[in-house]
């Protein structure tokens, strides 16, 4: 049992370290191959920062993980050997307690402070304040609908138009959206943009993202279809699992063209696209 158990614990340690560093490059940054099994590729401007923070924490955790697990394996193996003498009679050590309070405390403070800038950037409204709203996103059981202000960039005017299922955006630009829900909670989740925000009925929540066109091109290298998933990430009823949408990225020119088409279609038969 002694060998078997130590082996099991060691296996956890080795496997853990392997997942941290080896296979998927959590630490070194995701590579295109690792996308397949691990990360969704990242194509927004702040996606990188989130991934970086993830890896930063991973790095610190790796240290603690290796430290604690190694000690655990070592102690279990060493001290479960049959022996006749008694254990060390010790009730603790003040010095050690201080050390292992202070060091993690330091690490944790670093972790906490390293997060703040990014969070403030993404959520605190610096990017959304006083910016024109690019589109409004409406969630309802179980689909996504989008309302564009039309060429005049103002809502509530005649050239507003709605689309369903597919959100069409421009690249390389901070885009602000108003997120709303008609019925229950939903959550606007775009893995590739590293964006997630619940849509709360009764609230209008501004969100923003900026698609980095180079990263976007790279992520879809050689693929015909360059659209990607919108996922509903908050339980919203029986159809929650299929409340999907897509995002299509267009350059400025094609976007203007698409917009014009939509307006025209809107005036002709009032059918939502999608």
């Amino acid at each position: 049992m002694r060998y078997l158990f130590s082996l099991l614990l060691a296996a956890v340690l080795v496997f853990g370290v392997w997942t941290f560093v080896g296979y998927d490059n959590w630490l070194l940054g995701p590579s295109p191959e690792s996308y397949h099994w691990w990360w969704a590729p990242e194509i927004s401007t702040y996606g990188q920062r989130i991934d970086f923070l993830f890896r930063l924490i991973a790095m610190m955790e790796l240290v603690m993980f290796v430290l604690t697990m190694t000690l655990l394996v070592a102690f279990v193996f060493k001290y479960s050997a049959p022996r006749k003498d008694k254990a060390v009679f010790s009730h603790g050590s003040h010095k050690l307690e201080m050390t292992w309070t202070a060091i993690p405390a330091g690490l944790l403070v670093v972790i906490a402070f390293s997060q703040m800038g990014t969070w403030a950037d993404i959520k605190m409204g610096g990017h959304t304040k006083d910016k024109p709203v690019f589109a409004e996103i409406y969630a309802s059981q179980f689909d996504w609908r989008f309302r564009y202000p039309g060429p005049d960039k103002r809502f509530g005017t005649a050239d507003d138009f709605d689309t369903a299922y597919e959100l069409v955006v421009r690249a390389d630009e901070d885009l602000v959206f108003n997120l709303r829900s008609h019925d229950v909670l939903h959550s606007f989740f775009v893995p590739m943009l590293r964006l997630k925000q619940d849509a709360v009925p009764g609230m209008t929540i501004p969100i923003w993202f900026n698609v980095d066109s180079e990263e976007w091109q790279a992520a879809f290298e050689g693929q015909e279809d360059k659209t990607f998933d919108i996922i509903c990430a908050e339980l919203c009823g029986w159809g929650h699992y299929k409340m999907s949408g897509r995002i299509r990225v267009l350059d400025d020119e094609s976007f203007a063209k698409w917009e014009a088409e939509q307006v025209a279609r809107h005036f002709s038969n009032d059918e939502p696209a999608g």
């Binding site: 956890v12 496997f15 993830f54 603690m64 000690l71 307690e97 229950v184 909670l185 609230m203 699992y241």
Partner: protein, 598 residues
């Protein structure tokens, strides 16, 4: 109880009939075992639900083996999406409110507290009995909630409104959510009665010489957990009454104005106006976020209710089977207090993506990250205990050490989620699922298993079979990691929890093989528990008889007969020292019991 503080010299030990002795018992030991049996039965049920979840995730919409045709004739034996929603809702609810909390605070709390502090029983034995009996309506309500026609509660164990409050949002779930809320309330009442009893007993009924800082860590942990319950649970109870009112009386606490749910506006329907004799609208103007705050104000402390007693038990087991005093007893106590205290101000970390004010996200992040500090102290102290020890690697020890290893993994993934920007991406993905199964299954449940193996001799007077126990441990350990470790991988790939069929999304399509691997591990994990069940029932009746102190432990419960009779201790107690004097130089033995004079 007679006048406290006196020795009651009543010798008439009237033989009680079966009913008084085992059903309507006021004896804390029997009540503890009642809680344990109830918890284990529900554990099997919750486990079955988990298996159904895993089956669906690996092979979505395939015919359910065995029961498919009976339950779902209209879909050809495949489950429906509504049923999947019900599955994880009931799985989470049962596992948390009917398994872990009853097992930890109900079973071990009841059984161990009086024995470990030297009391003859709880402070209020009748209240204690009612505490268990409040579980019966709870069980009734929770059963009703999936037996009522329709498809059971559909809002997850978190029951976020408006999905949970507006009927038309989950058509077909009918009154299930109402039953669910009532079940929650009854469980709450049961916990409340228990908690008042535990704290009073621990503070007021310790044996002479048993100072607070001579109590085993299990007792500290149970007391702190009880205090958490006392201060946090009522808020959820209030919240669930409000939700109940929203459902039944059509009040508007959590329902915003101008909803259009499934084509219906809740304001325009449903409630019967007594005076006017016709149907009138439901109130509105409320806010869904209010419920989330009320819910997590309890349910975050609840996760520490689910882990602190486990930590305490692991500490006791490790110290005993490592034959070494616990390293840093007082830091252990203080860190538990710190976890409990901080636990009240971190609940917002479940709401980073919920539309909560982002400035508050910042505050909650800092407090959450700081809670890792006391946990770190505990982990290091366990390691310190193992250092220089003489380990007996028997089943309880294996599970307790396994607990430490698994808690490290589970806790570390908590730090990712505590970091707000990272949580934007991983919130509600399988990383969360991996995290909480590591702390709750691989953590608390391992400690519970360890506790059962460890205290079984005291409960039933017989040993559990160690070989079977070891087999049970090895399989459980391997398959647990097989199931839950891989979930981290799904999580970073972005896989959402609570999706009946993830492969609907392109992003997730390639993840099916991993899910299949996980599911196979889960089935094996479930099947493997047969070793436990067999061992448990076999040992209960035919196990090797245990003497008073089969583990040569130091703490007080081992001074009582095995199993302890009415009134627990058959001699007057005097406590001289703390509960962990293993390897003391003062004796030739390697254990110096709390009651032993030198």
């Amino acid at each position: 109880m007679g006048t406290p503080g006196t020795v009651r010299e009543h010798h008439e030990h009237h033989e009680l009939g079966f009913i008084r002795k085992y059903i309507f018992s006021t004896d804390h030991k029997v009540i503890g075992i009642q809680f344990m049996m109830t918890g284990l039965v529900f554990f099997a049920l919750g486990g079955l639900f988990a298996m159904a979840i895993r089956y669906q995730l690996a092979w979505p919409w395939h015919k359910m083996p065995l029961i498919g045709d009976v339950l779902f004739p209209e879909t050809g034996g495949a489950i429906t999406p509504e049923f999947y929603t019900m599955l994880f809702t009931m799985h989470g609810t049962i596992m948390i409110f009917f398994v872990i909390i009853p097992l930890l605070t109900g079973a071990f709390g009841n059984f161990l507290i009086p024995l470990m502090i030297g009391a003859p029983d709880m402070a209020f034995p009748k209240l204690n009995m009612f505490g268990y009996w409040a579980m019966i309506p709870a069980i009734f309500c929770v059963t009703m909630s999936f037996l009522t026609p329709g498809h059971g509660p559909a809002a997850g164990w978190t029951a976020y409104p408006p999905l949970s409050t507006v009927q038309s949002a989950a058509p077909g779930s009918f009154s299930a959510q109402t039953w669910w809320l009532m079940a929650l309330t009854w469980v709450g009442i049961s916990s409340m009665m228990g908690a008042v009893n535990y704290v009073t007993t621990i503070v007021k009924m310790r044996a002479p010489g048993m100072t607070m800082f001579r109590m085993p860590l299990t007792i500290w942990a149970l007391m702190i957990a009880a205090i958490l319950q006392l201060f946090a649970l009522p808020v959820l109870t209030a919240g669930s009454f409000l939700q109940l009112a929203d459902r039944v009386l059509h009040t508007g606490f959590f329902t915003p104005t101008n909803l259009l749910v499934n084509g219906l506006n809740p304001e325009s329907m449903q409630a019967f106006d007594v005076a006017k004799g016709h149907f009138a609208g439901a109130a509105s103007g409320g806010q869904p976020l209010l419920w989330q705050h009320l819910f997590w104000f309890y349910s975050h402390p609840a996760v520490y209710i689910m882990v602190l007693p486990a930590m305490g038990m692991a500490s006791d087991i490790i110290s005993c089977h490592a034959r070494k005093p616990i390293f840093g007893y007082k830091p252990m106590v203080y860190s538990m207090c710190a976890i409990a205290g901080l636990g009240f101000i971190v609940w917002g970390h479940h709401m980073f993506a919920s539309g909560m004010n982002p400035a508050m996200g910042m505050t909650f992040m800092v407090s959450t990250i700081m809670i890792a500090l006391p946990s770190a102290i505990k982990v290091f102290n366990w390691l310190g205990t193992l250092w220089g020890s003489r380990i007996r690697l028997n089943t309880p020890m294996l599970f307790a050490t396994g607990f430490v290893a698994m808690f490290i993994i589970g806790g570390l993934s908590g730090i990712w989620m505590a970091a707000t920007p990272v949580d934007i991406y991983i919130h509600d993905t399988y990383i969360v699922v991996a995290h909480f199964h590591y702390v709750v299954f691989a953590g608390s449940v391992f400690a519970i298993f360890g506790g059962i193996y460890h205290w079984f001799p005291k409960m039933f007077g017989r040993m559990m079979n160690d070989t079977l126990g070891k087999i049970h441990f090895v399989g459980t350990f391997i398959f647990t990691n097989g199931v839950f470790y891989m979930m981290h991988q799904l999580g970073v790939a972005g896989l959402m929890r609570r999706t009946a069929d993830p492969y609907n999304y392109e992003t997730y399509r390639h993840l099916q093989p991993i899910n299949q691997f996980i599911s196979i591990c889960a089935f094996l994990l479930f099947a493997w528990q047969i070793f436990f069940v067999v061992n448990f029932f076999y040992s209960m009746f035919w196990g090797k008889r245990a003497n008073r102190n089969p583990w040569n432990a130091c703490s007080l419960e081992w001074d009582a007969p095995s199993p302890p009779g009415h009134g627990n201790f058959d001699k007057k107690l005097q406590v001289f020292r703390g509960p962990y004097e293993y390897a003391s130089p003062d004796t030739d033995d390697d254990n110096l019991r709390q009651t032993q004079e030198v």
